[in-house]
């Protein structure tokens, strides 16, 4: 197996006087789905928001340590470039309300003032929507506003929007927690398919979901990385007692 696409080394983060993450060491492998799970407030969302440098948007945010994307520390690169290489999908679907479905998908280019030939634009939109399993449902209404779609469709639109930038990694922050079970299943199937194209890191507090779809799982508790490993092993023979207690529902 080749080297990891993302290496997190001795990474800590917090804001004000709160220490949210303590000395995290983690490797993310290319074209695999890595689930990051843990109880509420454990720091899992903070972790992925550090990966694409969104964490520092909060006032008084502090970080220390390294996050290496293809052996380059993301904190040495312009955050804007980092965010174009690492996409993000949020808990609540957030398509741009003033834009059509088409414009939403291509928003990463439009908003950045990157000019693309119409032919290529159409191609990117179609490919991204196909990868997000949304093309068939919206191909005739691309000009309509994104907010008219259902919750599950909006979330797939957001995934398409992130995919259009052709990122190396996509971060999913509990992407199905605001959706109904049917849409959740759709998205889960989609995510499994997507790993052929991108590397996926998914934050979830839904333990069965992590078991269902991920290749690797990282368990975070009280800001520490308690355990990390191939999902099957972690779920069947967890090495740490805390992991076992979490999996059996003793806390969460």
């Amino acid at each position: 197996m080749e080297g990891p696409v993302l290496k997190i080394e001795h990474f800590s983060a917090g804001f004000d006087s709160n220490q949210v993450l303590k000395d995290i060491n983690l490797s993310i492998f290319r074209n695999k789905i890595t689930a990051v799970m843990g109880p509420s407030g454990c720091g899992k969302t903070t972790l992925i928001r550090c990966i694409n440098r969104m964490h520092e948007l909060i006032a008084n945010a502090r970080v220390s340590g390294k996050i290496l994307l293809d052996n380059e520390d993301v904190f040495d690169i312009d955050p804007i470039i980092v965010r174009r290489k690492i996409g993000m999908v949020f808990q609540r679907p957030n398509p741009f309300p003033t834009m059509s479905i088409y414009d939403n998908v291509i928003a990463g280019y439009n908003l950045n003032g990157i000019r693309v030939a119409k032919v290529d634009r159409d191609r990117i939109v179609e490919e991204s929507l196909k990868k997000a399993a949304l093309w068939d449902e919206v191909k005739d209404v691309l000009h309509r506003k994104g907010t008219f779609l259902s919750g599950g469709q909006q979330q797939r639109l957001c995934i398409a929007r992130a995919l259009a930038m052709d990122p190396e990694i996509i971060l999913l922050d509990e992407p199905t927690s605001a959706l109904d079970p049917k849409s959740t299943t759709h998205i889960e199937e989609l995510v499994v398919h997507l790993k052929n194209t991108v590397t996926i890191i998914q934050v979830t507090h839904n333990i069965p979901q992590a078991a269902r779809i991920s290749d690797y799982t990282a368990f975070i508790y009280l800001g520490e990385l308690v355990e990390f490993g191939p999902t099957e092993k972690l779920f069947t023979v967890p090495k740490d007692k805390r992991t076992e207690e979490y999996l059996t529902g003793k806390f969460g």
Partner: protein
């Protein structure tokens, strides 16, 4: 005994309700009186001549308010040039920087500016523009009205932008869009409806203002639309003609009042409707 006390309480309750409804009804009566008076007396003056001719000298009939209409338009444009860009930028500043001592002072300044009597603003524009330039002018009137427009635009912009959920900003930033572009190309368009209605309300506010123009724009019987000469305006026309001793000029004042009132009320209603119809769904 208990029964009669209860009956008294119920009677007091009913009576109170009647009183509340009655007094409320009385409070809104002036609107109908005003509309009735102004329409009845003003609508007869409205004809094509009235809207396109200049005021006639005393004693002659058939004057018009064309210079007042265009003068008001000029003043509104000047005021908007001053107030809109600065107002929107300040509104963005206040909605992006919610905490902090400086933002607090800035916000407080806006609220104080909002409450300054319009005649005081007129004096300021006199001191800052009329005195140095040596004459009454449209520019000084524009400055006065601009200062009055500014807080309205700032506050409506800030209110509108504050309502936009943070996740929109995050969605844009996560795509690698820079902060300035996120604000200008995502947040501002999302808040456009509120900002536009704020502008409509600001224009409605200044369109009817007379006091700040008394010694800035000053008024003029001519169609002089030069920036540095006195200029006429609808509310000035109403004031000057209504308080004059000539009945022909009173008729002009009624007509001008009608035009002004219709304009201001229309803007207010448009803003109200617009607020609802153009609202962006999140």
């Amino acid at each position: 005994m208990k029964d009669s006390a209860l009956r008294r309480r119920i009677f007091a309750d009913r009576a109170f309700q009647v009183v509340v409804v009655f007094l409320s009804f009385c409070s809104i009566l002036p609107m109908f009186f005003i509309l009735f008076f102004i329409s009845k007396n003003g609508i007869t003056s409205i004809n094509w001549n009235f809207l396109t001719k200049l005021p006639a000298p005393v004693g002659e009939t058939g004057g018009g308010i064309s210079n007042a209409i265009l003068g008001s338009a000029l003043l509104i444009v000047l005021a908007s040039i001053i107030a809109v860009p600065l107002g929107i930028l300040t509104g963005i500043y206040l909605s992006e920087y919610r905490k902090g001592k400086f933002a607090y002072l800035s916000r407080l300044s806006v609220e104080i500016l909002m409450g300054i009597p319009s005649i005081v603003i007129g004096i300021i524009a006199y001191v800052w523009v009329v005195k140095p330039f040596g004459s009454f002018s449209a520019v000084s009137g524009g400055v006065a009205l601009g200062i009055m427009m500014l807080p309205v635009i700032v506050m409506s912009t800030e209110e509108t932008l504050k309502l936009i959920p943070d996740t929109l900003k995050e969605a844009s930033l996560a795509l690698g869009v820079s902060y300035p572009r996120t604000i200008l190309k995502v947040i501002l368009p999302a808040g456009l409806s509120g900002i536009v209605t704020g502008m409509l309300l600001a224009v409605a506010r200044i369109a009817g203002e007379t006091a700040p123009l008394l010694f800035t724009a000053f008024g003029s019987p001519f169609m002089a639309l030069s920036l540095f000469k006195p200029v006429s305006a609808l509310p000035l026309t109403v004031f000057n003609y209504a308080t004059s001793p000539y009945p022909e000029w009173h008729a002009l004042a009624w007509g001008a009042s009608f035009v002004l009132l219709v304009f201001v009320l229309a803007l207010n209603l448009l803003a109200k409707v617009g607020m609802r119809k153009w609202k962006v769904q999140f």
